[in-house]
Amino acid sequence: MTPLDGDIAHLLAGSLVLVSFLLLYQDRMFALLNFFAMHACVLAFSVGWQAYLQRAPHLFITALIALLFKGMIIPVALHRIVVRLGIHRTIETVVSIGPTMLFGMALVALSVVVMLPVTQSSGAFVREDLAFALSVVLLGFLMMVTRRNAVSQVIGFMSLENGLVLAATGARGMPLVVEISVGFSVLIAFLVVGIFLFRIRERFDTVDLQALDMARGESA
C-alpha cells in the first residue's frame, strides 16, 4: 500500500465525519435529505476504496448496498414521505447550532481519545477508521437527541448505521451474510418508521415529537 492509497482512505473516512457535521447543521428538510444521500455516497466510496486496498470483493457488494439503498432508495422515499406529510417547507427549530457544533467537536475528540489507546496493536488504517467510525456513530446519536422532528431523527439513526458499516469495513470486513442482513434490517426499520410517521401524524396532527411528551403528561 503506497502513502497515496493511505491518504485517500484517510480522506474518505474523514469526509464522512465532515458530512455528519453538515447533517447537524441543516435546518431544512430537503437539504437534510440531500446531505444524507451524500453521506451514504461518501460511505460507499470509502468502503469501495477499502475493498480495493484489501483485495476483498465482498466489500464491493457492501459498497453497492450502501450506494443503492442508502444513497438512492431511502432518500427518494423519504423525499416522498416528506412531501406527503406536507412538512417540506417547515424550517426545523434546531437547538442552537453553535453549542451543538461545539458538543459535536467534543464528541469527535472523545472518540479519538478513547479509540487510539484501545487499538494500539492494530494497523494504522484500522485505528483511524475506528476513531472516525465512533465519531460518526456519536454524531448520529447527537443528531437524534437534538432534533425534534421524527424525519430528522430517522436520518440521525441511518447516519449512525453508516458509522457502524465504516467500523466493520476497517476491521477487515464483516461476513457478507451479516452485511446483507444489516442492510435489510435497516430497510425494514425504515419501512416501520415510515408507517409510524403516518400513524403519529394521524394521531397527533404533527410529527414534532414534543407532542408525544405532552400526550404522556410530561411538561413540554
Binding site: 502513502p3 497515496l4 491518504d7 485517500i8 484517510h10 480522506l11 473516512a13 474523514g14 469526509s15 465525519v17 465532515l18 457535521f21 447543521y25 447550532i97 453553535g98 457544533m101 467537536m105 469527535v108 475528540a109 479519538v112 487510539l116 494504522a124 488504517f125 485505528r127 483511524e128 476513531a131 472516525f132
Partner: protein, 317 residues
C-alpha cells in the same frame, strides 16, 4: 544575502503595484459576467490618483488617531503582504516573520481601523466597528486554527518552509489540508468584505460593514485605506496560492530563469484565483449580517476538525 534582500524588496514593490491591478481585474471580470462593459482594469490606479489629489476633509472633533490610523493600517498591511512568498521563497524576513506574525499584523490593522471608526463619534462608524469586531472574534480564531493545521502538517510556521514541504515527497492529499483550505477561503471572504459577508461596492447603510467604518474618510486618507484593502485581498490570494498551489515558485538557490518562471506562475495563479472568487461572488447572494457569525463559525469548526484529524493520522502512524 544581498540577493535575499533584493528578492524581499522586489516582492514588496511587486505587491504594492499588483494589488490595485488585481482589484481592477476582478471588477472587470465581475462586470463581464454580469454582461456589463465594466471600467478599465487600471481604473483603481486612476481612482487612487484622483483621491490623492483631492482635498482631505476631516471632522471637527477628530483626534490625531483619526489622521494617523490610515497610514498605520496601510503600513502593517503592506508589511504583511510583503511577507507572503509570491514568486520566490527564501525572503530575508521570512525567518523572523511567520504566519502568526502575519495574522498579528492584520489584527493590528483591524484594531486601528475599528478605533478610527469610533473616533469621530458618528453612528455609522460605531455600527461598522462593532460589526467588524463581532466578525473578527470568529474570523481570527478560525484563521489561527487553519494556520495551526498547516504548521502541524508541515512542522513549521514559516511560509517558505510550508511551501517547500508541500512540494516535497511528504505533502499530499489529506483531509486536514482540505479543511484548512475551506476554512481559509471562508475567512478570506469575510476579511476582505467580499459578497456573502459584505458587498465591497455598496453604500447601503443597513448592510455595510467595512464601508461604514471608513465613511468619514476622504482624500489621501481614503486613498491609503483603499490601497490597504486591495493589498489585503492580494495577501489572502497569495497565501492560498503559496500554500496550496506551490508549483512554480522559485527556490532561493536557482537562477534568473527560475525567477521569471516564478513570476509567470504567480500571475497565472492570481488570475485563476481571482476568477474563481468572482464566479463564486456572482453565483450567491449576500447573507444577513446575523447569519455571518454562523458562516464564520463554520470556518472555525473546520479548522478545529482539521487539527483533530491531523492528530489522529499522526498518532496512528
Amino acid at each position: 544575502m544581498m540577493r535575499e534582500w533584493l528578492t524581499q524588496l522586489g516582492q514588496a514593490a511587486l505587491v504594492l503595484g499588483l494589488a490595485p491591478l488585481l482589484s481592477g481585474v476582478t471588477r472587470k471580470i465581475r462586470a463581464r459576467l454580469l454582461r456589463r462593459q465594466g471600467p478599465s482594469i487600471v481604473q483603481p490606479f486612476r481612482d487612487l490618483l484622483k483621491l490623492i489629489r483631492k482635498e482631505t476633509v476631516i471632522a471637527e472633533n477628530a483626534s490625531w488617531l483619526f489622521r494617523a490610523a490610515p497610514y498605520v493600517v496601510f503600513g502593517t498591511t503592506w508589511v504583511a503582504a510583503a511577507l507572503v512568498p509570491t514568486f520566490a521563497t527564501g525572503l530575508t524576513l521570512s525567518a523572523s516573520a511567520d504566519l502568526i506574525v502575519i495574522v498579528a499584523l492584520l489584527g493590528t490593522a483591524r484594531f486601528l481601523l475599528a478605533l478610527a471608526g469610533l473616533d469621530v463619534g458618528t453612528s455609522f462608524g460605531g455600527i461598522g466597528s462593532s460589526r467588524e469586531m463581532m466578525f473578527a472574534s470568529l474570523a481570527e480564531p478560525a484563521m489561527l486554527m487553519a494556520v495551526f493545521t498547516l504548521s502541524l502538517f508541515a512542522g513549521s510556521t514559516e511560509l517558505s518552509s510550508i511551501s517547500a514541504y508541500m512540494l516535497g515527497p511528504h505533502g499530499g492529499l489529506s483531509i486536514s489540508l482540505a479543511l484548512a483550505l475551506v476554512a481559509l477561503v471562508i475567512v478570506s471572504l469575510g476579511e476582505n468584505a467580499r459578497i456573502p459577508v459584505d458587498n465591497p461596492a455598496t453604500h447601503l447603510e443597513l448592510t455595510m460593514v467595512h464601508e461604514a467604518m471608513i465613511l468619514e474618510y476622504s482624500g489621501r486618507h481614503l486613498a491609503v485605506i483603499e490601497a490597504a484593502a486591495s493589498l489585503k485581498l492580494l495577501l489572502y490570494l497569495s497565501l492560498i496560492a503559496c500554500v496550496f498551489i506551490p508549483w512554480g515558485t522559485a527556490p532561493s538557490t536557482d537562477g534568473t530563469l527560475a525567477y521569471a518562471i516564478g513570476l509567470g506562475a504567480y500571475a497565472v495563479k492570481l488570475a485563476v484565483l481571482g476568477f474563481l472568487l468572482v464566479v463564486f461572488e456572482t453565483a450567491i447572494a449576500k447573507m444577513r449580517v446575523f447569519r455571518v457569525p454562523e458562516f464564520l463559525g463554520v470556518a472555525l469548526m473546520l479548522g478545529l476538525l482539521g487539527t483533530i484529524m491531523l492528530f489522529v493520522s499522526r498518532i496512528s502512524r
